[in-house]
């Protein structure tokens, strides 16, 4: 039991450190640009911006909990939102009832996303491809299907009522933020309070032990990639609603950023460790940093530089905690794609 408490406390330390970082960035930016950063308008604009990243990062985190990764989330997001956009423009060419439009978009988009996840699951659990390879391949195929059905151009003319998903606000609270909050609560519940959640943490920590404990590893993998595919599709729908068009190459640069957010949020890429709250804090701190730097007239390129440095520094600082966790959770696994499972320090 001593070991369990060590995981928990080390996990909590990471969350505390991250919360401190988030608050520190918020305070620093507020002090640097009080008239700009600390305003309702800025808060609202930030709240419109981060949910699509955050939902994608949650999709990535879910896959990483199993010790895998989902490189197909952007392909999935684009393909599902393109098909949803085509369905909307075909059935509601002149606009229509808002509820019907949204229901159609969600039905088509989320089903396609879930199906993409099933295909990933088949390659990973059925054929036995490493997740990074399977999703690299399927991601390219999903993007490719998106290119073929659209001919490479954007799908435009989405019904006006669909704009609600990405652009409306309820009592000044943006709809995307509400969607994200709902997703975060559901995911936290699924991961912490369901049998699936507990099984995933065990599977991610030690797949062999989970098999010996009688868990169906194949089914766990399948469910996990279905969840990440569905979440990716939801992020895709928000994205096309904000962009008012759908295209096969939207958000390509988001892929590696979502890995960055998940890892900064304390997700262990070897599996078994990761929390919704960590991802929320990580995405908030990066959003504060990015908006604040914008107000300090720092270029987008400098932001990229700062993000990279933040990841490297955060990882280096938490290295000790981390290696302690890997040392006993990673023993005898021999399946991690990276070279950092080391011996005792």
């Amino acid at each position: 039991m001593a070991k369990t408490s060590r995981i928990v406390s080390s996990d909590h330390r990471h969350l505390l450190g991250l919360a401190a970082l988030t608050v520190a960035i918020f305070v620093a930016m507020s002090l640097a640009r009080p008239g700009l950063f600390l305003t309702g308008a800025n808060m609202q604009s930030m709240a419109f911006q981060f949910p699509e990243y955050a939902i994608l990062a949650l999709a990535m985190m879910t896959a990483m909990l199993t010790g895998g990764i989902d490189l197909s989330i952007i392909g999935t997001a684009n393909l599902s939102s393109i098909l949803a956009a085509l369905a909307m423009t075909a059935l509601f060419p002149t606009g229509g009832n808002a509820v019907a439009v949204l229901a159609l978009a969600l039905l088509v988009g989320l089903s396609v996303g879930c199906l993409c996840g099933v295909i990933n699951g088949l390659f990973i659990a059925g054929i036995g491809l490493p997740p990074i390879l399977a999703t690299l391949g399927t991601g390219i195929v999903y993007t490719g299907i998106g290119v073929v059905v659209t001919g490479g151009s954007a799908v435009v003319g989405l019904p006006d009522s669909f704009a609600v998903l990405g652009n409306a606000a309820v009592w000044a609270v943006p709809v995307p933020l509400l969607v994200f909050a709902a997703v975060a609560v559901v995911m936290a519940f699924v991961l912490n309070r369901t049998i699936y959640g507990h099984s995933v943490y065990l599977f991610g920590t030690n797949p062999r032990a989970s098999r010996f404990a009688g868990l169906k590893n194949g089914r766990l993998n399948m469910t996990t990639y279905m969840i990440s595919g569905t979440l990716a599709a939801l992020a895709g729908l928000i994205l096309i609603s904000r962009a008012n068009s759908a295209k096969a190459d939207y958000a390509e640069s988001y892929l590696l950023i979502t890995v960055l957010i998940a890892v900064l949020g304390g997700t262990n890429p070897y599996g078994g460790v990761g929390r919704v709250l960590g991802v929320v804090l990580a995405v908030l701190s990066l959003q504060f940093l990015s908006s604040g730097l914008n107000m300090l007239q720092v270029s987008n390129f400098a932001k990229e530089f700062v993000w990279g440095l933040t990841l490297l520094l955060a990882m280096s600082v938490t290295r000790i905690e981390w290696r302690r966790m890997i040392d006993f959770s990673g023993v005898g696994r021999g399946r991690s794609p990276n070279a950092a499972t080391g011996d005792k320090p």
Binding site: I69, L71, F123, I127, G128, L129, P130, I132, L133, A134, L136, G137, T138, G139, I140, V141, Y142, T143, G144, I145, V147, V148, G151, G152, E252, L256, V259, L260, V263, P269, Y270, S299, F301, A302, K303, E304, F305, V306, W307, G308, L309, L311, L312, M315, S316, R319, R323, G334, R335, S336, P337, N338, A339, A340, T341, G342, D343
Partner: protein, 327 residues
């Protein structure tokens, strides 16, 4: 026979041959010296990058930062040469760009070797950091008046001529760079202790450390070597394009890794060959150039390549699973 077929090289070579045969039947002029040289020219840079990526994959790591590193080295070199007015030779540009690549590679080496962080995370971080640093501190403007040395190099041809159909063809001297990188990497991997150590680390990092292999030093070498190769690939690219575009190159990383994996290198480390890697690159380059000849719209390119990756890696994985060998 089954074992021969289970090897990725055989599978990839077969698919490659099929593609070439079918394309040549549809368009007989495909099978010609000009096409061959065109393909070489198109695949040159990707092949140099792929050799570097192969080395990292063999060691059990993964590197997604090499494109940012190449862009940084290429642009910083060109800018320095242009601003100081040193027109210099291509050799100077190669040395400078390779040197900058080496230094940036050492940064990766520090985080992977000394800090012992996961390679994917490290190189994701340095991908952003290098690219951000390049565009913020070095520059973000296109340089179209590249130094004379680089311009002359792009005009230097090993072979040139006209074939029977009247098509002009030429083989750029840049192919020599690829050849040199291939030979040197082959020598390191198969004829030195260092090479054996790289395979050993990829096979099992823990075992390698316990039998006394200086893992950290070898990791520094790997990332420095890949950095140097990438810097060289970057400057060759700029020289052939006769323009230094800081936004170039980045974005290629996953395609290059896909080509290497298609060629049989395993992401779990310890496995991979130079022949396979070159075949993987050749396959992707041939597909990109032959789809239109085959009457397949170029929009289908992604689907074909994605399916090939799934097929090329899925078939051996499926066979391994069926024959009961554990991964």
């Amino acid at each position: 026979m089954a074992r021969l077929f289970a090897r990725n090289e055989t599978l990839v070579a077969t698919i490659l041959l099929l593609f070439i045969i079918v394309t040549s039947i549809v368009d007989p002029s495909f099978l010609s010296v000009p096409t061959l040289f065109d393909l070489l020219r198109n695949g040159l840079i990707m092949a140099i990058f792929a050799i570097g990526v192969l080395l990292v994959l063999i060691s059990g790591g993964i590197d997604v930062s090499f494109t940012a590193l190449a862009a940084f080295a290429m642009y910083a070199t060109t800018k320095t040469l242009v601003e100081t007015g040193v027109e210099g030779s291509m050799a100077l540009a190669l040395a400078m760009s390779g040197g900058i690549g080496l230094c940036l590679g050492l940064v990766n080496g520090f985080f992977v070797g000394t800090m012992r962080l996961p390679t994917l995370i490290v190189t994701l971080g340095t991908l952003s950091a290098f690219r951000g640093a390049l565009l913020t501190f070095v520059g973000s403007q296109l340089i179209s008046n590249v130094p004379d040395g680089m311009r002359d190099f792009s005009r230097t041809m090993l072979l040139r001529g006209t074939n029977a159909d009247g098509y002009f063809y030429s083989l750029p001297a840049a192919v020599l760079v690829l050849l040199l990188v291939v030979v040197l990497t082959w020598f390191i991997l198969y004829r030195t202790m260092l090479g054996r150590n790289i395979f050993a680390i990829g096979g099992s990092l823990d075992s390698a450390r316990r039998i006394g292999i200086p893992v950290t030093k070898v990791q520094y070498f790997i990332y420095a070597y890949v950095g140097t190769i990438s810097g060289i690939a970057g400057i060759v690219h700029a020289s052939l394009a006769r323009v230094a575009n800081p936004f170039d190159i980045v974005g290629l990383e996953l395609s290059v890794i896909a080509a290497v994996v298609l060629g049989g290198a395993r992401l779990q480390g310890g496995t991979g060959t130079i022949t396979g890697t070159l075949l993987g690159v050749a396959l992707i380059v041939v597909i990109n150039n032959s789809l239109i000849t085959l009457g397949i719209p170029s929009t289908w390119q992604n689907i074909v390549i994605g399916l090939l990756i799934l097929l090329g890696t899925g078939v051996p994985a499926w066979q391994a699973r069926r024959s009961g060998r554990t991964e």
